[in-house]
Structures are given as structure tokens and as C-alpha cells.
């Protein structure tokens, strides 16, 4: 299976469905949060293009609220890596789930 970064809904909207669409799938990511490193800057939940993340009510040992995955959005992460790239505190990363 080949994985590419695209939004299949958008392609449907243009009315031009690629004939080999079934050969592709939306990547699926699993987010890992190192809660104790987080400083609650909000960059991850602001710049996640799929709006998968939000501020949690957990308070870490330094008094900050780390992010969490929104309820019901567990399968919406596309493993784009933006949260991982933008986090100044190395507190979040994404693992791509590859099930052949």
C-alpha cells in the first residue's frame, strides 16, 4: 500500500476521483504526549491541521496543561508531524500506524 499526504474528501469535491484511488489510503497517526515536558504554549493544538488536539485538564508537575486527543477524533490524525515539529519542548510526537 502506498501512503500519500492528501485529503480524499477534497478530491471528491472537485468531482475528479483518481481511477487508482483505492490504491491509496489516508495515513493514520498515533500521538504520544510526554506530559511532564509540556509548557502549555498551545502551538500543537493551534497548528494541527486536522484539529485533533486540545488542552487537557491534567496538570503536570510544573503546573501546565498538556494536550490530549479530542474525544472521537482518535482516528483523524493523518501523521503529518506538524505538532511534533512545532513543539518547542519535545513533548509531543506522532507515530504512523502502518497496517498492511
Amino acid at each position: 500500500m502506498i501512503t500519500i499526504d492528501f485529503d480524499s474528501e477534497k478530491i471528491y469535491k472537485t468531482g475528479r476521483t483518481p481511477i487508482n484511488l483505492q490504491n491509496f489510503r489516508k495515513p493514520l497517526g498515533r500521538v504520544h504526549i510526554i506530559a511532564e515536558r509540556c509548557k502549555e504554549c498551545g502551538y500543537c493544538w493551534t497548528y494541527c491541521p486536522k484539529e485533533v488536539l486540545e488542552k487537557s485538564d491534567y496538570v503536570n508537575k510544573n503546573g501546565y496543561h498538556p494536550p490530549r486527543v479530542k474525544k472521537g477524533r482518535e482516528n483523524d490524525c493523518v501523521a503529518c508531524g506538524m505538532c511534533e515539529a512545532i513543539c518547542p519542548d519535545f513533548a509531543i510526537f506522532v507515530e504512523e500506524i502502518k497496517n498492511e
Binding site: H32, I33, I34, A35, E36, R37, K39, E40, C41, G42, Y43, T46, Y47, S56, Y58, N62, Y64, P66, A85, I86, C87, P88, D89, F90, A91, F93
Partner: protein
């Protein structure tokens, strides 16, 4: 909630020093991320990387990277790095330091390194003030901006860093903000392969100092300013690429200069070869 997990970049960090000292929303952690991301992807041997800084919040950065790193005296990162490179040209020598360190106290060193086209990559994290010492203004503070020492607005003209570096003949000149993290990583990777002097300016939030004095209530609001005002223009007229925070002019970012010019190390090798041939 607390997962016992290891960040994939920890192998390139001195992770025992985490959480780092930088403030919430400080852009410096993002620059560190880009640097370690770049070295993890490049084919340059890991042990050849050397990271040098002067003094300041930015200058703490090499202390978190798990490479040979040198935290030198204020303003002197460039001469230190120049010495390293000349003695051992095989090393990939990168300087990451602040605007105050590189362009105020160290201003003379950086202009001459660029003029010589010295084989160094210099990443200047510009937060428009002396973050570490309480947000004083300096040569990079935009006209009109407020700082702890310019409470009524800065009356001085500021340095336009890519314009200066380009005019001195640097091989590579780029500017990004800490929001442009992917472009920054690619720029670092590219610049590490270029012979001669490479310069990357990274515009970065400093929430408790420059941010606070200029109505950015937190790092996020300054990042949103970058988001709304950045314009990518690789062919920009650099004389116009100075920065202000009025929102009336675009914040020009991009890869402005990439030119092939003999580097200092190239010329030095050639000179030694010629001198040895002489009877």
C-alpha cells in the same frame, strides 16, 4: 496520562537536561528541533558536527544538543568557530546564537566572517532584544518597537540582517520564522552542504520580554502575527526586507541568496598548494 515514552529526537539531545530552561512559547526549542532534525537526516557523519554559541538564551542551545558543543564568551562564537574550521576543515561547524550576541557585541566578527566567505553556518535567532538580561533593546530592535530600555518606542534604525549578510557576499542567506519549522529544517540541511558562509535568520517569539512590551500577550499571539504577515519572496529586494511589528508591511521570508563563490577554506588550500610549488 503520563506515558513512559521516549521522544524520537532524544537520541540527539542531552535529554537529562530536560525540561529545558526556555520560557513557555519561546521559539528556541523549535530551532533546536530543526537543527537535530537536519543532522539526523543528512549524510554528514554525526561525529563531525560541532555547535558553537556565545552568551544569551539562544546561546544555551548547544548545551542541549548531543554533539560536540562550545558555549563561548559573549560575542565571540564566530572567531572561535573560525578557528575550529581552519584547524580541522572536515568538521561541519555551526554557530547558533542570538541577535545581540552576533550583531551587537559580536557584530564586527560576523561582518568579517561573511566578507571572507568563511565556511560556517550561522543561525541567528532574532527575538529583537536581549532576552536573557531582561529585554533591553539592541541593533536589531525594530524602529518604534518598545523594550525595557525603549519604553516610549525605539528611535534608532535597525539592522536588516539578510541585507547586510548578502551585501558582504555570503554564499547563502535565508530568513524564516519559528513557525516555518519545515522550511527552516530544509534550509539548515541545504546550508550545511554549501561551501562558504551561510546565514539563516530565524525570527522568534520572546513572550516575557519583546512580546510583553509589544502587545503580544503570549508566544501564540506572536506566532499568529508571523502566520498572518509572513510573505514568501525568494527574489525580494532585500533593502526593503526590514522588519517592523506594525502589521503595515509584510514580513518577508525565504531563501534570498545562493551563489557559488570561492570559500575561505578553498582559497586557503589553493594558496598553500601554490606556495608549496614555488622553488
Amino acid at each position: 496520562m503520563v506515558e513512559e515514552i521516549v521522544h524520537p529526537k532524544d537520541a540527539y539531545l542531552r535529554s537529562d537536561r530536560f525540561p529545558h530552561i526556555w520560557c513557555p512559547g519561546c521559539g528556541l526549542g523549535i530551532v533546536l528541533k530543526s537543527y537535530v532534525d537536519a543532522i539526523s537526516k543528512l549524510d554528514i557523519p554525526y561525529n563531525n558536527h560541532v555547535l558553537v554559541s556565545g552568551i544569551g538564551c539562544t546561546a544555551r542551545l548547544p548545551g542541549y544538543a548531543n554533539v560536540d558543543s562550545y558555549h563561548t564568551t559573549h560575542g565571540r562564537a564566530i572567531p572561535f568557530a573560525t578557528g575550529l574550521k581552519i584547524v580541522n576543515p572536515e568538521l561541519q561547524v555551526t554557530v547558533i546564537s542570538g541577535d545581540g550576541d552576533l550583531f551587537n557585541i559580536g557584530g564586527n566578527h560576523i561582518i568579517h566572517a561573511a566578507r571572507r566567505n568563511m565556511d560556517l553556518l550561522v543561525v541567528c535567532v532574532n527575538n529583537f532584544n536581549y532576552g536573557m538580561t531582561g529585554g533591553q533593546h539592541g541593533a536589531t530592535t525594530p524602529e518604534g518597537a518598545r523594550t525595557s530600555t525603549t519604553p516610549y518606542g525605539n528611535i534608532e534604525h535597525s539592522f536588516n540582517l539578510p541585507y547586510i549578510m548578502s551585501s558582504l557576499g555570503a554564499s547563502y542567506v535565508a530568513r524564516w520564522t519559528s513557525l516555518h519549522v519545515r522550511q527552516l529544517t530544509r534550509s539548515i540541511m541545504k546550508a550545511m552542504k554549501i561551501r562558504g558562509f551561510s546565514f539563516i535568520e530565524v525570527i522568534s517569539p520572546c513572550p516575557p520580554n519583546f512580546g510583553k512590551y509589544n502587545r503580544f500577550s503570549d508566544g501564540l499571539s506572536q506566532m499568529q502575527f508571523f502566520y498572518e504577515n509572513s510573505v514568501l519572496d525568494n527574489n525580494a529586494d532585500l533593502s526593503e526586507a526590514y522588519i517592523d511589528f506594525t502589521g503595515k508591511r509584510p514580513l518577508i521570508v525565504g531563501e534570498f541568496v545562493h551563489r557559488i563563490r570561492p570559500s575561505y577554506i578553498d582559497l586557503e588550500k589553493e594558496l598553500i598548494r601554490k606556495a608549496m610549488e614555488e622553488p
